[in-house]
């Protein structure tokens, strides 16, 4: 059987994803460094201007920017579609970076007047991303598991941005009906379950086997993930907004999707032909443990077995700080060295000896980052659950050190770009 298709003819630019990833990594470090400073606030109610700002620094500056940057590299690889416009992606980064910085700043300072404008910048950046990736997916030959979840995630991102814009407008004009906190929770869960989770699950199904040298997973866990999120995310969000009875049903569906993902990751790890795990792979294997813990906490909250700001904060720390952040950090340990290697050494490959990816990295710093982030986030979750400012400060310090090690290990990789930038033109913007 032969199914010839046109070759894309060009590779994604290596520097395009790196802008997003570097911005995201720096934001992650700054957010981590803010935890010990905000220990007092974290021991209280989560609805505090500086904590809302911290949450947006993590969700927008760290998680969203990383996913967008990674998308520009991974869509061409896993879906075999070129990015529709790299120029639009560059503008999108600038707009979004400005919007995120402004949003976090305005939220931290409690300034309502300009918030709508900077939230508008975020929405514009999101719109540019949606347009770019949407047009990249146009004409996709096979709507695989990954492609479907990516499309689901893009829809979730669009809705989350609109929701955020409406919330920002509501801060000025106060027009939204209903209670405030359920609306805020709905916004959070739309971002987590509608945008972040589908994309992470979809990309993981293609990329983890690639790096662990395992067969791609298949079968019922995929259907459970797809349908669990497709049904669960809208149920949770609509339940929080209007029909509380739907929340537990939706939470169960999302929980099933989380278990399906964890099962697949375990299968991939068991079937891998790569016996030695580097720190990037270890982090992505640890992360589903946090996902299962977050699922348990989420179900506990959904079924009203527990409640209040302490449980909600612990849930946010485990899901955003544990599952999502460790997954992203692990993938960045894999993606960034490849992008740097491709830009600097690929042009020489075959003609002279070139270093392996491992030789570009700093395994000691990666290991330190993995242990400090993993242990620190777990301790932070316990500390916020207890509401103990001293323990929050201490565990936040550990997370900060982990983020510093993470940043240092990325900087070690990125330093290989320095002579390259002065010597040669970009490799990625290649032949038509």
């Amino acid at each position: 059987m032969s199914t010839p298709r046109p070759d894309p003819g060009r590779a994604p630019s290596a520097t395009l994803p790196l802008r997003d990833l570097v911005f995201a990594a720096v934001t992650f470090f700054l957010a981590a460094a803010a935890i010990p400073v905000l220990a007092g606030e974290l021991a209280g109610h989560y609805y505090h201007p500086r904590l809302v700002a911290l949450t947006h620094a993590v969700t927008l500056g760290w998680i969203t920017l990383t996913i967008m940057g990674a998308t520009y590299q991974l869509v061409p690889i896993v879906l075999e579609r070129p990015i529709w416009s790299e120029r639009a992606a560059r503008w999108q980064f600038l707009v979004l970076a400005a919007g995120v910085t402004g949003t976090v700043g305005h939220l931290a300072l409690g300034r309502r007047a300009g918030l709508l404008w900077v939230a508008g910048l975020v929405a514009l950046g999101v719109a540019l991303h949606l347009m770019n990736v949407g047009l990249s997916l146009r004409g996709l030959a096979r709507w695989t598991f990954t492609a479907r979840l990516l499309a689901l995630g893009l829809a979730g991102l669009g809705l989350t941005a609109v929701f955020g814009l409406v919330l920002a407008a509501d801060r000025v004009w106060k027009f939204l009906p209903g209670a405030f906190f359920p609306t805020l929770h709905a916004h959070f869960h739309l971002a987590l379950l509608g945008w972040v989770m589908p994309v992470v699950l979809g990309i993981a199904a293609r990329v983890y086997p690639m790096f662990m040298l395992a067969a791609e997973p298949a079968g019922w866990p995929g259907r459970v993930q797809l349908w669990g999120l497709t049904a669960g995310a809208p149920l949770v969000v609509s339940g929080l907004l209007a029909l509380p009875g739907l929340v537990p049903v939706g939470a169960l569906a999302v929980g099933a999707a989380a278990c399906g993902h964890a099962f697949w990751v375990l299968e991939i790890a068991r079937a891998r032909r790569r016996p030695a795990l580097d720190w990037g792979l270890r982090l992505v294997l640890w992360a589903p443990g946090f996902l299962l813990l977050a699922t348990a906490l989420g179900l506990t909250l959904a079924f009203d077995l527990a409640g209040g700001p302490r449980w909600a904060l612990a849930y946010a720390v485990v899901s955003l700080g544990g599952w999502v952040s460790l997954t992203i950090a692990g993938m960045m340990f894999k993606i960034v060295p490849f992008l740097v290697w491709y830009r600097v050494f690929a042009p020489r490959a075959g003609r002279e000896p070139v270093p392996t990816l491992t030789e570009l990295t700093w395994p000691a710093a990666e290991g330190a980052a993995a242990w400090l982030l993993g242990g620190g986030i777990l301790a932070l979750a316990v500390a916020v659950l207890r509401g103990d400012a001293t323990w929050i400060r201490a565990s936040g310090g550990v997370v900060t050190l982990g983020a510093l090690a993470f940043l240092a290990s990325l900087a070690r990789v990125l330093q290989h770009l320095a002579p390259c930038a002065a010597r040669r033109r970009p490799v990625g913007i290649a032949a038509p």
Binding site: M1, S2, T3, P4, R5, D7, P8, G9, R10, A11, P12, P76, I77, E80, P82, M210, F211, L213, R273, R274, P275, A276, D278, F338, W341, Y342, A346, P347, A349, G350, R351, P353, V354, T356, L357, T358, E359, P363, V427, G428, A430, A431
Partner: protein, 265 residues
């Protein structure tokens, strides 16, 4: 008395300072500082084999070792095996006839760099070989001890030195006709076409292998690459280097890229 047949295992137990001596000949002997690697590998390497890995005459290394450990009874240096000629032997017919789909690739360079003992992984791969399959092993040094180990299991070997720290060794069933029937057909059909299977390799190894093969592509030759996905990052490099390429999927999950010099008939 220490001879060329003495294994490093016993020597290093008694004289751990020899690791530094060996490391001056080849940096990969530094890996023997790792206790696990030393326990697994050192008993399998003789002094003569170590000399071959280091690319020096066995007598020279033997003399240095004897001096270092103060072997008072040391006799005159053995003639031993001379330093290995670096010119590659031609590829054996049985191996040349073997299609890439019959070759199992194992790359242990990263394992050794990280101090992970690779022997178990290699032997597991050998154990999993079907009749007619060959093992294609990538290592940072010439895996001389394996020649004996796998030789006893009926495997011949062919070695290609890509760089000082980059070796490929194919272990295959000998010339006794164990190559599968299809292989000869493939060899005939493959005149003017070289083939490389990069499935199951971690990025960017497939790209490195393909570009390495392309640099050695003869006039009028084509390189067929068997991949598990479309190599999006490779295409622009092919264009830059003046290669034309076509891609198809002969079966689900298998991508085939045929590359040739642009302008070649």
């Amino acid at each position: 008395m220490i001879s060329g047949d003495t294994t490093l295992g016993g020597l290093l137990d008694a004289h751990p300072e020899l690791i530094d001596v060996l490391a001056t000949y080849h940096t990969h002997f530094k890996q023997l500082r790792n206790r696990l690697l030393r326990r697994v590998m050192a008993p399998r390497i003789t002094v003569a084999q170590a000399a071959r890995i280091a690319g020096v005459p066995a007598a020279e290394l033997l003399a240095v070792i004897r001096r270092t450990v103060g072997d008072a009874d040391a006799g005159p240096p053995e003639a031993g095996e001379p330093a290995r000629a670096l010119a590659a032997a031609p590829k054996p017919a049985a191996l040349a006839a073997l299609p890439v789909s019959m070759q199992v690739h194992v790359d242990v360079r990263d394992d050794i760099k990280k101090g992970v003992e690779p022997f178990a992984r290699i032997m597991a791969a050998v154990k999993s070989l079907d009749a007619g399959q060959a093992l294609s092993l990538r290592t940072p040094f010439e895996p001389v001890p394996l020649y004996d180990v796998l030789g006893k299991r009926g495997f011949a070997h062919w070695t290609l030195r890509r760089a000082d720290d980059d070796w490929s060794v194919w272990f295959y069933r000998g010339e006794g006709g164990t190559a599968p029937e299809g292989a000869a057909t493939a060899a005939t059909a493959g005149a003017g076409r070289r083939s490389i299977d990069v499935r199951g390799l971690e990025p960017p190894q497939p790209m490195v292998l393909v570009l390495h093969e392309l640099e050695r592509l003869g006039v009028g030759e084509r390189l067929e690459v068997i991949h598990d996905r479309r190599p999006i990052f490779l295409y622009p490099l092919l264009a830059e280097r003046g290669f034309a390429h076509t891609t198809d999927e002969p079966q689900p999950g298998v991508v085939r890229i045929v590359i040739e010099k642009r302008g070649a008939a």
